[in-house]
Symmetry: C2
Subunit: 175 residues, 2 copies
DNA sequence: TCTTACAGTTCTAAAACCGAACTGTCAATT
DNA sequence: AATTGACAGTTCGGTTTTAGAACTGTAAGA
């Protein structure tokens, strides 16, 4: 599977990964949310090579995550700002940061704190159910095919094929 | 910056990206949440090369995201299951899927729906503030350095240095 | 005129990835 | 006893991506 093919997969996650699923893109986006807008700004704060930065920015613009806006035209210069589609990536960023805050901090503690203007407090992001408002636990979610699912889960070979998984021989008695 | 160095950055996002920030790792994790546990299972559903799969699984185990558990010992065989640290990645996965559902679906609609066992309904994940429970908007969040921040934002050169950003010459009058 | 800021582009070497074949253990067949 | 198949990797040659550093071009300021 090549990078370009991800966008065509019948999976929202694969498609999203096709857009933001590489290290530099995620880091560039972080900078965007921290208000960086210009080429030099990204380059110097990330240490990304100029070549790759130019490529990634182009890709993000193509995909509608960033918009390239002129801010002067003596020598034509542009800055990159998040579109609504880009701003909507915020929950992903917060979820990533929060996991890092929980599992990857050293003894010194969190590098960055987040304050919610609405209530004035430093907060953690919590993911809840849009229907009942309860926090989501992986165990309590059941996934099922939607209208855009693949045509068939492909039974492929009608030949034996033990079964999908489990039981294969996990039922052995002694050790 | 090399892959290995990301973990040492004073940024929870960079550190997290060091763990899960590549295309295959994210896809492998998706499979984990969909209950895949074994090498062949990952390989056949993802189409990843066996070489890379072996590497990624090793890395995830090293990082404590997966645990490698023997399920038989005739020929020693193991399966990979999510640790608590791994399960905690769930909000990231959901946020990614949700963005894809919102911005990357074709006319047919979502490939997958998610049902919340607690309330029985198909839902969308919503990220809210842990303190006041309100949904988080990027505009309403202010970030500030925490205890684990970098020693100094490095003033570097005391020489002129116009200013950080903006105004540079954005104040031109006509077009 | 010389230097600096800014936004890229070009080029070579190094690292990562792909595809396909190969290794090794054991169970079930032939 | 030899063969086949499932499973979990490992090895290897060739292709892509990245890294690193230098170069291009416009315009303002000293």
């Amino acid at each position: 599977m090549k990078w370009g093919e991800l966008e065509d997969e019948p999976c929202s996650m694969a498609r999203t990964i096709g857009v933001i699923g590489d290290r530099w893109t995620l880091l560039i986006l972080r900078e965007c949310f921290l208000r960086t807008r210009r080429f030099e700004g990204f380059q110097s704060s990330l240490g990304i090579t100029r070549h790759l930065l130019a490529e990634r920015l182009k890709k993000l613009v193509r995909q509608g995550v960033l918009r390239r806006i002129p801010y002067q035209d003596s020598p034509k210069r542009h800055e990159y700002i998040l579109t609504q589609k880009g701003l909507d990536l915020y929950p992903i960023m917060m979820a990533i940061v929060h996991w890092g805050d929980t599992h990857m901090v050293d003894a010194r503690g969190r590098p960055l704190l987040h304050q919610h203007r609405k209530c004035g407090k430093d907060f953690d992001p919590v993911m809840v159910c849009s229907e009942c408002g309860e926090p989501l636990l992986a165990k309590e979610i059941h996934t099922h095919p939607g209208p855009g699912a693949r045509r068939t889960p492909a039974p492929e070979k009608p030949k034996a094929k033990r079964e999908t998984r489990a039981k294969t021989k996990a039922h052995r008695s002694a050790a």
